[in-house]
């Protein structure tokens, strides 16, 4: 590629940064391998495979970085062009909160609000459908698991379920 055709170097090139993350992960894996001891070629240790895989990760990530510099790549913004990014973000936030509430509150108390939020916040479903679905779906799953498959879901501090 000549200098005339080479794309200008841009710092918000998403390919570049994913490659950099790959290098960082590779270095972390190499360090973990070294800490665990490589052993010898006759008797490989616990860190043997990790060390060499880490080296390969760095090599592949460097290839990605080099390609992003020579060939350019899409910006972070263009990856979300025409997409409503707020919806996945909202689901991630709701699910993270749910994951932490599941054990202390129990399955039924935490899952019914989760379903209601997912049905009403992301792409709103009418209340007359959202409420019965949010209540009946977790209840029926809980009933089948508890009574038919004998699987106990978390009952939480209130011991409901």
């Amino acid at each position: 590629m000549t200098d005339q055709t080479r794309p200008p170097f841009r710092l918000n090139n998403s390919e570049l940064w994913t490659g950099v993350i790959g290098i960082a992960l590779g270095v972390f894996v190499i360090r973990s391998g070294l800490k665990l001891k490589l052993g010898t070629i006759n008797d490989p240790g616990s860190g043997f495979m990790l060390f060499y895989i880490g080296l390969l990760m760095c090599a592949f990530a460097v290839t990605i970085v080099l390609a992003s510099i020579t060939e350019g790549g899409p910006t972070f913004g263009s990856r979300w062009e025409g997409a409503s990014w707020s919806k996945p973000v909202a689901i991630i936030v709701i699910l993270s909160a749910y994951a932490f509430a599941l054990e202390p509150l129990g399955f039924l108390i935490s899952t019914i609000p989760l379903m209601l939020l997912l049905l009403r916040v992301i792409d709103p479903v009418r209340w007359t459908l959202a409420i019965p679905l949010a209540v009946l779906a977790p209840l029926s799953v809980w009933w089948v698991l508890k009574h038919a498959l004998l699987i106990q879901l978390p009952s939480g501090m209130f011991e409901i379920g």
Binding site: D43, P44, M49, L56, F60, I91, P154
Partner: protein, 502 residues
């Protein structure tokens, strides 16, 4: 003669009422997830993996297998009627299938797809019966070096066939191996990458990883895009193809079946590659290639036969070598392991009832699918009208339940949410999750065999090239690794590259 006796023994097991029920549940759920866009066989199988614990190994594996080949049938319905692939192997069917439906020929398109799938599925089963026992007897001679090289080849083939940059796919495979090595070292019992968490001592569970990357990741991606559905509303009549349709489809079904079966056996290959390859072949062989893309029945018959034959062929490496050739088979391997069984060369001799029972159940399942797909088409069409904003909270609910039930541990729900987020960003930045998952499953096996072969050969790396099978696998892997550097081969790779996560 032995085969016949074994098949009869297999039918004896498969025809037990409980196994018929599990087979029916499997093919029904398979068709359901195949029909519904946004949920595929991988998510359904991970969800039901814990359920298999409640029955015998035969019942559980019969159900899991049913989900896989059932989804191959169901996926075509969505492709033809809605122009959205129900699962990745039906992407090609959209092209001509939906055009046929628009021209008022949805019936013959659905009919030839179901009948072609039945023919191909049955052929693949006959071949599975004939090839698997002979291959298993050869595989007994495999040592750790052969296994290690074969796994390397499997991973390289999958990365070669993955859409986009090969460096990205290889990086994903490496990350998958590292994730697979989390937990106690199987040889020294030393904890690795556990960060002091007791939950990680046994390693990261396959179910939360798969459900996160494929189930939740897919939901997150789908919610940010408005899925446009172009459902064919006209009444579907005349499902049976006429004489002309059969004449045009016979060749593509035959070729698709053979091509699909052999591509299914290849590690890293599978139903998706088979359907694309069959479409390309039919277009090349056709005297009127310009009809393709405008409702050519050959463009439906060939790929549908190919993906079903590949689904049958994919059982061969798993059953005979214990190596899953794709992510779906990796989940099936998980089902075997949960039941304390190790698929491999000894499975057929040590557990003939299990092997032949599964094979026989697949015949029964194929017949059930024909019954489910043709007369119940109206029900599937109604299901397709379920809006995604109602569907996705249910998918999330089932993923949470599936993950929790696999280990009875809330920690796995955190892992699933974490991998869901990772899966979403991976897809956004063009990193495919399929190589990561296959490497995650193969990683510990690869490490074990690599270390064993080095110990046995006293550190002599020549052990990998002095053994013919191992050498052949490594040579092929190297060829595939350097192939993208050659422009002509790179173009070919881009033509067949697949999006397994779809």
């Amino acid at each position: 003669m032995d085969v016949l006796v074994n098949v009869m023994h297999g039918f004896g097991i498969a025809l037990q009422p409980v196994n018929i029920l599990y087979c029916f549940i499997g093919v029904f759920i398979g068709t359901l997830v195949g029909v519904l866009p946004g949920i595929g066989p991988i998510s359904a199988m991970s969800l039901l993996l814990p359920v298999t614990l409640s029955g015998t190994p035969e019942s559980g594996i019969i159900m899991m297998a049913g989900i896989y080949y059932g989804s191959m049938y169901g996926g075509s319905t969505t492709s033809i009627l809605v122009n959205i692939p129900g699962e990745a192997a039906s992407v090609v069917t959209c092209i001509d299938g939906h055009q046929m439906a628009k021209q008022g020929r949805a019936g013959p398109a659905l009919g030839i797809s179901a009948l072609g799938s039945f023919i191909a599925g049955t052929f693949a089963l006959v071949m599975l019966m004939l090839v698997a026992p002979s291959l298993a007897s050869v595989a007994i001679a495999f040592g750790p070096a052969e296994y290690a090289s074969l796994m390397v080849l499997g991973l390289v083939v999958l990365t070669f066939l993955t859409q986009g940059s090969m460096a990205k796919a290889l990086l994903m495979a490496c990350i998958g191996i590292v994730l697979g090595l989390v937990g106690l070292d199987s040889i020294t019992a030393q904890p690795r990458l556990t960060f002091g968490r007791i939950e990680l001592i046994d390693g990261i569970g396959l179910v939360p990883v798969v459900m996160g990357l494929f189930g939740l990741g897919e939901v997150l991606l789908n919610t940010e895009q408005a899925i446009k559905r172009d459902i064919i509303n006209a009444k579907i009549t005349q499902l049976l193809p006429d004489k002309e349709d059969w004449k045009a489809s016979a060749g593509p079904i035959g070729r698709g079946t053979i091509l699909g079966f052999f591509l299914g056996i290849l590690p890293g290959g599978g139903a998706v590659v088979a359907s694309f390859a069959s479409y390309a072949l039919e277009k090349r062989l056709s005297r009127t290639p310009e009809r393709f893309g405008h409702g050519a029945i050959e463009g439906v018959a060939g790929p549908e036969a190919a993906n079903n034959a590949a689904a049958g062929g994919a059982f061969i490496p798993l059953m005979t070598l214990g190596i899953p050739p794709n992510v779906v088979m990796a989940l099936l391997l998980g089902a075997f392991v949960i039941h304390g069984l190790q698929p491999g060369p000894l499975l057929i001799t040590q557990n003939p009832g299990l092997f032949w029972g599964i094979v026989a159940s697949m015949y029964i399942g194929n017949v059930m699918l024909l019954v489910l797909n043709l007369p119940l088409i109206g029900m599937w069409v109604k299901l397709l009208k379920l809006p995604y904003n109602v569907l996705f909270p249910l998918i999330i609910l089932f993923t949470i339940i599936g993950v929790y039930c696999s280990s009875n541990n809330v920690f796995d729900v955190y892992v699933m949410v974490g991998f869901g987020v990772i899966g979403y960003f991976m897809r956004k930045f063009g990193y495919e999750p399929a190589p990561l998952v296959l490497a995650f499953v193969l990683g510990p096996l690869l490490e074990n065999n690599l270390r064993k072969s080095l110990i046995l050969s006293q550190g002599d790396l020549m052990t990998f090239v002095e053994r013919p099978i191992s050498a052949a696998c490594l040579v092929l892997a190297v060829v595939l690794l350097i192939a993208p550097l050659l422009p002509a081969l790179r173009r070919k790779r881009e033509m067949v590259a697949l999006d397994e996560g779809a």
